[in-house]
């Protein structure tokens, strides 16, 4: 043991999370939130590939997954640049553990049936389209540019998921019942979309919108679609919290295990 050489501090790998070192870089944290929401939902939607209820829907969900993972890669690349410690989008996606992920719980929940997947996507897509619409005007030029592209995609994502909510809700008794159940079950997860903490408050100078400011417009869009779908808007009760600070459901670890195993088993592999 005496022959073992201590690793000089300069070559030690960077700490896993910015939050574990006491000094949080708010822009880095915020970019992780933007990236992780999309990476995790993109991965969940990609699980539908080959399992869609119809060929068109299989293709649609895979297309949306691709857009979301693409958006995530742009946000995470920028996060790595902002952090300035040499981590690129792949390092951030594949080499962080669940506790360092910053996505909301809503997107990490298992897919359930097609109706549940669609309701979850709709709740997220409407929020995403509205928040990206604001981010287009961010004072951070590169963030604004990535958001402008993502915003165009989010608009047709919400059109797709919203139309399906209407079709399923206003469909058969069976589809109505399942969609309503999904809506009721997922409702306690919407609180995280609009919660604000010190990371958000650090962006008051025009970098990013304050999450609570998005809620009125979101509720308007969602209640309109819910009523056209003949569904009932759930009452606000208990709301989950904590995932933006790394406290996730048990589902995220399983998702990451599948997503990360190749990159972790073969570090640096290229093809």
């Amino acid at each position: 043991m005496t022959s073992r050489t201590a690793i000089p501090s300069s070559t030690r790998p960077p700490a896993a999370s910015a939050s574990t070192e006491g000094s949080v870089n708010p822009l880095f944290e915020y970019l992780l939130r933007l990236g992780d929401d999309r990476l995790v939902l993109g991965h969940r939607l990609s699980e539908w590939c080959g399992h869609g209820p119809a060929l068109e829907e299989d293709i649609a969900l895979a297309n949306v997954a691709l857009d979301l993972i693409g958006q995530a890669s742009h946000f995470l690349r920028l996060a790595g640049t902002v952090e300035g410690r040499g981590r690129d989008e792949d390092a951030l996606a594949y080499l962080r553990d669940a506790i360092d992920y910053r996505n909301v719980k809503l997107v990490e929940l298992p897919n359930g049936d097609f109706g549940r997947t669609i309701v979850r996507s709709f709740l997220f897509d409407a929020w995403s389209a509205l928040s990206l619409e604001k981010l287009v005007h961010s004072s951070h030029a590169e963030l604004a540019g990535i958001a402008a592209k993502a915003h165009k995609e989010a608009r047709y994502h919400v059109r797709h998921s919203g139309e399906w909510v209407i079709r399923l809700g206003d469909g058969t008794d069976e589809s109505h019942r399942r969609t309503q159940n999904a809506l009721d079950d997922l409702w306690p997860y919407i609180g995280e979309l609009f919660a604000s903490d010190e990371v958000d408050k650090a962006h008051a100078n025009g970098i990013a919108p304050d999450p609570p400011s998005l809620e009125p417009a979101w509720r308007e869009v969602v209640s309109d679609v819910i009523s056209r779908a003949t569904l009932t808007l759930p009452l606000d009760g208990y709301m989950h919290s904590g995932a933006r600070q790394g406290r996730h459901t048990e589902h995220l670890g399983h998702l990451l295990a599948e997503m990360q195993i190749l990159a972790r088993s073969h570090p640096g592999a290229k093809w």
């Binding site: 068109e56 829907e57 293709i59 649609a60 895979a62 297309n63 949306v64 691709l66 857009d67 979301l68 993972i69 693409g70 958006q71 890669s73 742009h74 409407a126 389209a129 030029a141 590169e142 604004a144 540019g145 990535i146 402008a148 592209k149 993502a150 915003h151 165009k152 995609e153 608009r155 047709y156 919400v158 059109r159 797709h160 919203g162 139309e163 209407i166 869009v221 309109d224 679609v225």
Partner: protein, 168 residues
Amino acid sequence: MNATDAQAAALLEVLHGVPDPEVPALDIVELGIVRKVERRPDGVVVVEVTPTYSGCPAMRTIEEEIVVALRANGYERVELRTVYSPAWTTDWLSDEAKAKLKAYGIAPPEPAVAEQILVPLTATIRRAACPYCGSSNTERRSEFGSTACKAIHYCHHCRQPFEEFKAL
């Protein structure tokens, strides 16, 4: 035309020789993926590219092909830059490019108009003209197709499914 302009035109001409891997009827300049190309005084050719869709899987191939095409024409040192702003739009496609798409069997994009409401009624969707027979008695089957940039339609007149390069 001064020397700088002539050089830029020559570089652009080389890049016109790079077809899009997924829609080979168009090249990457026609598609609006190449935003700017110039040769710096130190001899490095700088190419600015913008992604069509955030997750376009062809982007890496396109970047590799840009480097290959430029090297084949004697430009050894190439620097690629990704620019996001302004965001890519199908409105950048020229009439000539749209005609090429149609001849290739893909309905060209309409002008991109943002819907006012986020979830409009499905019934308001306009009908794309069939690239084969020209009929507008068509129906959109899905806003998602074989690639991120295409939607699937069906023509009731010639009974043929077809793809549309969707407006973005």
